[in-house]
Symmetry: C2
Subunit: 359 residues, 2 copies
């Protein structure tokens, strides 16, 4: 049925489609729907407390017996940098003034949790079939504990060098995340986003460089991308933005409205929301302070500075300060329930592959 | 034999492979080899005088009866801007000093010719089967004259908006040039390269947006990319960087050596060589003055300022100041004669497509 069954057999799933874990935008409902449809459901844990993670896993395990992917960020928490944070707040002062926000009331501190002791204990307790990491991998002792649970370990590479690094570190599967992808780049070996390869160039080079199966990600939002990924030698695809449009996603009505107007040429990589480059739709905040600003504090410190602006602007019905994460293929996806999207992608991709030989 | 025959029938060629016209890097030999192998041979005219164009066409027509694509730039020549040119030379002063170059001896003036009366007369005289344009299209009166010769007219789009614009202007075929592509971006409706979509996202969206056949370009350097392009609904591919590695290309030994060391994550879009964004391998000049500099004069004025530095550095065996044009898929291509490359790409892509269908 599929040109490559390695991921299907390794994960125990029916369809070569992985739901991209999208912190803050996807939870149990999307994971359940995609899993039940035959793909791999993923739960992003980076913005959840340990209790929230346990609750979400509980809901998922109660409603589906399909394999589950728990996703974590693997960044190092940066040292506090009060000067830089203060400088960034000063840079944003005109916006605070515009919305009547007192910067002194804004709490500082991180807004995204790296994989740590508490997260590892959850993995050991709940034994997800797959554990995926973004921004590299956690320290070896923690990774070993994950491995000992029997979980398959996967992580994102944005370059061939990162793919090789992840394979050496023992990843069972590598996600080749092309520059088209929405949300945070998994980039971890360097910082320059100007040299990041697109999916068309990255996937075949990663396939050539590693011996583990490769999941293609970035710019895939319909069946054509899924079929094309197999031509490059990928064993599955990871899809994010298309699932954001599903009713099961947790995005705000403002984000949903912006996605419905998305264009191929109106997304950009920006670090002004979180300190790490992530792709989203261009808006006022990104245009005026970025898209890439050398003044933004290290990930994830800037999240607290932008938060009140987003809240105030959204209360006024504006998307000017919202992180409108989206990949470059956003316009290709139609809003529909996630199970229907998953099955439709698979069915249409198989039809394309069958037709491939032509007349 | 192929899933889509529209381009094959329209151009009268056997294989869905267009040799990318690469000004300064490809000439009659590559065009002849690719054309004779069954693809579409292209002659880039932007850096040739009218006499040189006539000579090259003469050589090609003498040695092959296959269809020929003449390629031209369609930019507007910028007004002279002595202040900005002087500022740019001042910016480069430390490099001139390093190489003992007297900036006063550097001639100014354009280094790339736009399609004009003289070029149009050549088209009318030699009647190439296909005429392609980069940077938009020439003024309507000239375009009408080209159309009246019976030539099929094709042009590059880097966004869906550009594709729609080109279709409205009467293009017979549109090249969807993803961000992975080496050399100059065809971008003409705007200037921001940060929002340029990758091939994976661009091609299906262009296919959906226009009714004319689409040629996929950018990141395609082996048979996998050719097979994948058909999955997206493209009718052919345009390939550049892979042909640079052929013995028939006109690149310097320094460029050839750099290409053999290319990596997926070591190219960047830069405007410091010509004033327009073009993708090439990172080197000292690009790193230190760009990659995108707001100080660079308008295309093609900076070419004269960088020229003497390139010449001096290359004489010393250094690639520090050379424009090392390359796409992100450069590592996928192996050096071999162009006819062999063309036939191999087609044969292997057909095998991939057949295998996909049979699975």
């Amino acid at each position: 049925m599929w040109p490559d069954r390695r991921i299907l057999d390794l994960f125990g799933i029916e369809l070569p489609i992985v739901l991209a874990p999208m912190a803050g935008a996807s939870g149990a409902e999307l994971a359940i729907a995609v899993g039940e449809a035959g793909g791999l459901g993923s739960l992003p844990c980076a913005m959840l407390s340990p209790d929230q993670i346990r609750n979400e896993i509980g809901v998922i395990r109660q409603r589906t017996a399909r394999p589950l992917n728990l996703n974590f960020f693997a960044h190092k928490s940066p040292p506090a940098d009060p000067d830089r944070e203060a400088g960034w707040k000063k840079r944003l002062q005109p916006y605070y003034a515009e919305y009547g926000i007192d910067p002194a009331t804004i709490p500082s501190g991180p807004g995204r949790n790296p994989f740590d002791e508490a997260a590892c204990a959850i993995v050991e307790e709940h034994r997800p079939e797959i554990v995926s990491f973004h921004f590299g991998l956690p320290e070896e002792a923690l990774l070993d504990r994950v491995r000992r649970t029997g979980a398959k370990i996967i992580a994102s590479a944005t370059t061939v060098a990162e793919a090789r690094w992840l394979e050496s570190a023992g990843c069972d599967v590598i996600i080749a995340q092309g520059a088209e992808a929405g949300g945070h780049r998994g980039i971890f070996l360097e910082e320059d986003v100007a040299t990041q390869p697109g999916t068309f160039a990255l996937v075949p080079q990663v396939v050539d460089a590693v011996s583990v199966p490769v999941i293609a990600a970035g710019g895939i939002a319909d069946a054509r991308g899924l079929a094309a990924a197999f031509m490059f030698g990928a064993s599955a695809v990871q899809i994010g933005t298309a699932y954001l449009k599903c009713p099961e996603s947790l995005i705000t009505p403002i984000h949903r409205a912006a996605l419905s107007q998305a264009r191929d040429d109106r997304t950009v990589l920006t670090n002004v929301f979180t300190g790490r480059p992530a792709r989203g739709l261009m808006n006022r905040f990104v245009r005026e302070t970025g898209p890439i600003s050398a003044d933004a504090p290290a990930f994830p410190l800037p999240t607290s500075a932008a938060g009140p602006l987003r809240k105030a602007a959204e209360a006024a019905g504006s998307s000017d300060f919202s992180p409108l994460w989206a990949g470059q293929a956003a316009p290709l996806a139609k809003p529909m329930p996630a199970a229907e999207l998953t099955r439709g992608l698979a069915r249409e991709a198989q039809a394309l592959l069958s037709k491939a030989a032509g007349a």
